[in-house]
Symmetry: D2
Subunit: 331 residues, 4 copies
């Protein structure tokens, strides 16, 4: 009974089907018919014109999206616990040619306009200090918490005011939309570019970078190739994304994962370190409690010295959830 | 009847099977059981210990392999028509942080020791000039020509003599081995690292970087993550590579592609611009002749103003080859 | 009466003399007779063999020194208020190709071994997290505070233990040595490389990078040229450094600056935000007090909303110090 | 009797005087009164508004100028023997974050529009190939040859037509203007940015980057700091440039150097490998002839196996020229 990561979940059968169907003769790289459908499909989803690039990882998606906004001498405001800061092996430094991540704190790994302002305002506009060029937030956050539409409105207003690009790292965007019950565009209100995660939600190895200003995507196409991320059989990448977004599978999968997480949360209310708003639970759990759970066959990651991270996925079985909930309650 | 590129060929059924079998619960990134088998499988193939990293593209494979050998202030000697120089969108400049490609000429896109020496010898060992740190050759070359074992011996001896790393871009390594009829290690004699191509030979989107000094791979693991090339469901990458190398499928596929190319070559001997030693033909072909072929349903790329590139693959049908051969003969 | 910065102080007459004397025909770049004397002169000063490279700025000195220790995928542990983090326009990101600064807090902008350990220890040794490769401290610190020899011993021991390079940014090294009254090598105990500042201490535009492992300097010579820091009339750079270090002028100048600062500190004891150990004072000062001082002709920088930074230099006049001290007392 | 390089020549007395005069209290970095005069002085010289940044070396000047025009994924068209390609230790790769130099041939190290077109035209506008973003030429060229105004008109027209920035590396711009007898702006017709060399022409260590679109300079100010090229006592940099350009000294010095070179050329007409249009002579000279000259006390660099480079400077003595001319004639 595995709750390590939604990364470990299987590929959804409908994604498999789409990939098999894609295995026909077509032009290489991004010249195929499936890739050609992406912009339109995504524009329909978001209700406005957008340009889409597929890449194999969220790290590449985040960094290429930011590369459209931030020059090498610039900076990106983000949370101290943001994935780009903590868990991407320094990829932003590589893709952005040494641009700097400028860190703010804040509960639940969420950036607030106040925290961003407190960081930005003291920066002298002189050449001795790195100037911020973008703000990046994670929806849902690294602690599984979701920015409300009003929060995004405030953040994007700040970006406009200060001339910053607004990037949303949406590794778990589907879960956020499922939670908010709003439209996809509302759930990333004001974003110039998204890293729209597919892999945690049923895909194999395709993520989508979505640019709401389609022209911004043009340079990034060169950057993608230059980073070795333009696959020659790109049709398999497009197929995965289309399988998820064209018939609502993305949202369906996310709802299942969220429901499982919420169910668990209700069974262990006293242990929650963060509100459960997507498909991750962060629990207070002593080492001996963790050992006891593992002895019962539950797999998960420790989180610090006295905690655990539990992740559900589109395929998490109800009986596993029940079993884990019961085991937690019985500790 | 498509002869555009082996990139466009389908995924081999045995690769599909292996990928489906990989769709079980496992640890993320490169922590899965299949990835764990790669080093041993590849060591068995090459008859010496090696370390293997999967990546999604040949561009990433080439550049990460070179990153193990070349500091930012250094240079890579390669052919003027090498893929890394001509067709990778400047990726070496990105991955190597501005290191320089140092170009030599030579027939059939092959580097000779003499040409390499003529470039290297006049370089003053002072800080005003970029110093070469590696030699990169393509096996088979960009014109489908194969380095003989003796040629590789001479090139690797030169590398040892001058303290250069030796990288072999093996996008079509299988075809080269099939042509030479030697052992895999002989076909890349002396190489410190290979980019062992799988995608043109039946895989979907996995290539292997092979390091013959396994310690050299360690830093590259960090570099791979940093470049966004560490996929979270890495088991699907390893599965593709294992499917090709564990039971000889790689060589079987390459032999089919080579045979098709050779057959075609024999049917159009007067048109060959380069010897046909792998699965590519470069033909003299006027614009009107090219148009005539296309009108008959043959797809292929132009090559310069008076030429064409014809590529066969593991799945090229015999009747298509016969048809194209006949059409060429009838021009 | 200017207390803005020691950067603004004039060039010392003996430095001028040395530069004029250098204006004879000689070989270009670093091939001149004066540059040839640097290693020996600096080795004599430090009592052990070292290799010296001149550059025009402290920023270049810091970054080139670090480039000898830190690969692009690595990190540098430093203080949150370190000059390389706060005031060099992102130069480390540029020179180190995107390597990361990893920030610790601590009083008086000084790094403690405990703070460094608290940052380093939780870093998982996996590819998702940037690994530290060096520690950089500033002697005297950005608040004019001096690391004691024992503190440096503890920090350098930590570096040895964790395999980190140890860099000391010595923009005001002379002031630190003057304060400590120890040997130059003790004042940078265990450092692998120094940025030995000259410009704030009487030079015009030459700083010295000192490598205690002379071999480490070799690659940096290429990096210096590559960064456009190899001046063609390098003799004028070497002349400045020799003028300062060969006859003790560096220490003489620093003692004067320190004495002036100390004198001032004694006249405004209640206002000190940090101990005065070098040639900088950080004072509590309200906006109206600052205005009052400026109205009396004193120039200095504000430091935050309620503070001021006062810097003395080798040429600070005693009567100016007396005047400022009296004005402070009279506030 | 030294003819190695104009880099080795002394600092002009009027430059010394200006530097001494600059040694007064002023604001640091580029906040001083002399730096503030640069834009106006240079705009007067060129007859149109321009923005000026000082840096210490021609390498930094070239690379920072190009950084305003070329993104990391782009390329710079230049001559195969251009200084940026051959003699700057890979600095363009560093400053431009891996952008590529795209090389053309051509007599006398001069780029022709035809050669540039022949390189650019076959580049497919797709992401696999690096796209050119700028053209860089050297005035006077690396062989001491001068682009005529019409040649610059043709090159800059090509740049406009293809959307390329136009950079002129003017290490010996003064010599080119002196030769052409035209206005400074005509001698760099159409250039977006110049690296206006001062060091070979009487300065100590200041070069000027001149932007004819002043807005283009803004980002470069950040880049300069980030590259460690913003000196804290910048007043000494500005002083050198003003001393040369405000009273015509730059042209006066260049005329002297050119006259010496021309005089020599006339005394050795049969040996010239390139026309002598500035202050460099490239002569056919056997090893034994070179040895004979050196035995008579003449210093110069070999140029290949059968050649020599002779460089004159603003201070080259007439009797030395006569002596060398006679010695050459007597060989």
């Amino acid at each position: 009974m595995q709750f390590h990561s939604d990364n470990a979940a299987p590929v959804h059968p409908r994604v498999w089907d789409a990939m098999r169907s894609a295995d026909a003769l077509d032009m290489g790289y991004d010249g195929d018919a499936l890739t050609a459908r992406l912009d339109e499909a995504m524009s329909a989803l978001f209700g406005e014109p957008c340009a889409v690039l597929w890449v194999a990882t969220g790290t590449a998606a985040n960094c290429l999206a930011l590369a459209a906004m931030v020059p090498p001498e610039g900076g990106v405001v983000c949370h101290r616990e943001a994935h780009i800061e903590v868990d991407e092996g320094g990829a932003p430094g590589f893709f952005l040619h040494g641009a700097k991540l400028m860190l703010v704190g804040g509960d639940h790994a969420k950036v607030t306009p106040d925290a961003a302002r407190a960081l930005i305002d003291p920066i002298r506009d002189d050449v001795h200090q790195v100037q911020p060029h973008a703000l990046s937030v994670t929806q849902a956050s690294e602690y599984g918490c979701v920015y409300r539409v009003e929060e995004l409105q405030a953040l994007s207003a700040l970006c406009r005011e200060r001339g910053l690009g607004f990037h949303v790292d949406d590794a778990r965007f589907a879960n956020a939309v499922a939670f908010l019950g709003c439209s996809p565009r509302e759930a990333c209100h004001g974003a110039d570019a998204l890293s729209f995660g597919m892999v945690k939600n049923g895909a194999m190895n395709a993520e989508a970078i979505v640019f709401f200003d389609p022209e911004k995507a043009d340079r990034v196409r060169y950057r993608r190739k230059r980073a070795g991320h333009l696959q020659s059989k790109g049709r398999f990448m497009a197929a995965q994304i289309l399988a998820l977004i064209e018939d609502g599978l993305w949202l369906e999968n996310a709802r299942k994962a969220n429901a499982a997480a919420l169910h668990l949360a209700r069974m262990a209310p006293g242990r929650l370190l963060h509100p459960v708003e997507a498909n991750e639970l962060f629990l207070r759990l002593s080492a001996s409690e963790a050992a006891a759970l593992r002895a019962q066959g539950f797999g998960f990651h420790d989180w610090g010295a006295q905690g655990a991270r539990i992740v559900t996925a589109w395929d998490t079985r109800e009986d596993h959830v029940e079993a884990l909930g019961a085991a937690l309650a019985a500790l």
